[in-house]
């Protein structure tokens, strides 16, 4: 009966029910979209690592972010290739250079030199131009999302990078840097030449493991042989790169604050709605108390109503979130909502709604059943 009473009285006052639902839906959508934007943004910090097809990254001692590399001896690749369990080792060169734009302006870009004969380090996939574009002479690959910054380069167009003429041979889509600096991919030898770097030095050594090789053991063996370098699995380096931006920029704090605000709004709206519903029904609650409904039973009615508002609100909020994600997510503003965020958000908001039932309960506790005779 309590459940019947709870949901019938809840649905009887549709205006207040809708107000409560709006609060929950707002919270769910805000938390998920904020969280999704956050994950979408920070994942850019590790995009080069995540899509590198490598199992292990080797770089300078104290490497903390994939975009800020320091030179290491390129010859170490042969040392690494000799480690048991290593199937392939390739160098990866990263260097900040300037690209001249048609209007006479310059745009700083991050030149990424990848080996020709392998897919190690090829984080991009060609969507415009030939698939083997990078193997052509003086070829570069740009990303569509950087068209605005680079004055809309077309495939086949000539550009000048660090004073050298190069040809835009292909375009990728969605390989974006956490910084505002566009990635420009070139083959390894061209990248050394364009950047004017020492060919004996590289930025990273990328390792692909042999089937069934123990990644941690291979890392340990490489560290033993090359103690002056850092050796990490791809997952470790991706996390390190993300943490670098989260901690150095305060990004986590600002997104966290906005998310907290969303939760707070939801809490206040649900609590306020339930409280208003109780205020409207003080007479009914007094009557129920008078005819023998206990305080705990009243609390269970309020908790059930909160749980109902939360469940319906979370379900609608999730659907709206998925629709918004589908409509709004783009490579530039990626909304990545992992399953754990959906689940965590749902559980958290459900708990908050139950907590919000405490506010009207404080009012219900003060209801004197004697007032039923006075109204």
């Amino acid at each position: 009966m309590r459940w019947n009473l709870a949901y019938r009285t809840l649905f009887h006052d549709r205006g207040k029910l809708i107000a409560g639902l709006v609060g929950v839906i707002f919270s769910v959508v805000l938390v998920n979209i904020q969280g999704g934007l956050f994950f979408g943004l920070v994942n850019k910090a590790s995009m080069l690592v995540d899509r590198s097809n490598a199992d292990i990254w080797i770089g300078h001692r104290g490497m903390h972010n994939v975009d800020f590399a320091h030179p290491i001896p390129e010859r170490y690749r042969y040392t690494v290739a000799g480690v048991e369990g290593v199937a392939e080792v390739q160098p990866l060169k990263l260097q900040f250079v300037n690209m001249a734009l048609p209007g006479g302006k310059y745009q700083q870009v991050l030149l990424v030199g990848v080996a020709e004969s392998t897919n190690l380090g090829r984080a991009y996939s060609i969507v415009d131009g030939p698939q083997d574009a990078i193997n052509r002479n003086d070829a570069i690959i740009l990303d569509r999302c950087d068209d605005d910054k680079l004055d809309s380069p077309q495939v086949g167009e000539l550009r000048e990078v660090n004073g050298r003429r190069v040809r835009v041979a292909g375009k990728s889509n969605g390989i974006l840097n956490f910084l505002v600096t566009p990635y420009v991919f070139a083959n390894y030898d061209d990248a050394i030449e364009i950047g004017g770097s020492n060919p004996d030095e590289t930025s990273y050594l990328l390792v692909r493991l042999a089937p069934n090789a123990d990644c941690q053991r291979v890392c340990r063996d490489i560290r033993t042989l090359l103690p002056e370098l850092d050796v990490m699995t791809s997952d470790q380096y991706a996390s390190l790169s993300i943490n670098h931006w989260i901690t150095r920029t305060g990004l986590g704090l600002s997104f966290g604050a906005a998310t907290l605000l969303g939760l707070l709004v939801g809490l206040v709206m649900v609590g306020q709605t339930l409280y208003a519903m109780v205020l409207d029904r003080v007479g009914e609650y007094a009557t129920l108390r008078a005819i023998g409904l206990g305080e705990r039973e009243l609390l269970s009615i309020l908790a059930f109503q909160s749980a109902l508002v939360a469940s319906i609100g979370i379900a609608i909020g999730m659907v709206i979130t998925i629709i918004l994600k589908t409509l709004l997510s783009s490579p530039k503003a990626t909304i990545e909502i992992p399953l754990m965020l959906y689940v965590g958000c749902g559980v958290l908001i459900f708990a908050i709604c139950l907590f919000a039932a405490g506010l009207p309960y404080l009012r219900v506790r003060r209801i004197d059943p004697h007032t039923a005779l006075q109204s």
Partner: protein, 258 residues
């Protein structure tokens, strides 16, 4: 019908709280039925309210009783203490002093939880303004006392529906209170009060919000049902048109019986 007040003749009752289930708990076997046969007995009930920093007596040592199956009316001018006495008899208020016995067992010293359970199981209330739950149908409103006792909703609805049919509300079983007339609402409220056949029914001006015809109809039903269920009834009223339904009328003035 007599217009009088009869003081209680019982000797000092045992000081044992009423258990949740009649016949259970430490009170079982210790009831004072040998001492009193009253369904409800109040002894030297006093109650004061603090108004403007000053204590103002509302009830001044009231002695009162109702016998099984008896219907007693409390009459008197506004402010004479009728509703306060009804609240104390219904365990909605606590008295400052005095004793209250329900079927010979003291109930004036119970905890709030115990008082709630006594109200649920042994007392039916009829309110002046019906006090129905607006979100529930007539049938569900009447089912509340049964389901609070643990009866499944479906079974409770069947019983409530049958009672409503008896009361001439078969077409309004699924109606919400907002779509019924005051007379119909009060009949639903009456059904809610008697559905679990309580030992005591307390009615606070049950005809005050009704026209004369509806008031008579409600009182007729109350009279019939309380006789059928052998419930004792206390009715607070100003309405002399319904005095015919009283077995006894107690007139109050300034917190005392005349």
């Amino acid at each position: 019908m007599t217009t009088t007040n009869t003081g209680t003749t019982a000797s000092t009752p045992t000081d044992v709280p009423v258990g949740v289930q009649p016949g259970q708990g430490p009170a079982s076997g210790q009831k004072t039925s040998a001492i009193t046969n009253h369904a409800l007995e109040a002894k030297a009930i006093a109650k004061s309210y603090v108004i403007g920093g000053q204590s103002r007596p509302v009830l001044d040592g009231i002695d009162f009783h109702v016998d099984p199956g008896e219907c007693v009316f409390l009459a008197g001018p506004s402010g004479s203490g009728k509703t306060t006495l009804l609240s104390i008899l219904g365990l909605l208020l606590t008295s400052d002093s005095g004793q209250l016995l329900l079927k010979g067992r003291r109930v004036d010293r119970l905890t709030e939880v115990e008082r709630t359970l006594v109200r649920r199981e042994r007392i039916g209330f009829v309110f002046q303004r019906f006090q129905l739950i607006n979100g529930l149908t007539a049938e569900d409103n009447v089912s509340i006392p049964l389901t609070m006792d643990g009866m499944p909703l479906r079974e409770a609805r069947d019983r409530a529906g049958a009672l409503l049919c008896r009361m001439g509300l078969e077409d309004h079983r699924k109606a919400l209170p907002t779509s019924m007339s005051p007379g119909q609402c009060q009949r639903v409220a009456l059904a809610r009060a008697v559905i679990n056949e309580p030992e005591l029914i307390l009615a606070d001006e049950p005809t005050a919000a009704l026209d004369g015809k509806s008031g008579q109809a409600v009182m007729e039903l109350l009279h019939q049902l309380t006789k059928e269920f052998a419930s004792s009834t206390v009715v607070v009223t100003h309405d002399p048109r319904i005095y015919q339904y009283a077995d006894r009328i107690c007139e109050m003035e300034n917190g005392k019986f005349k």
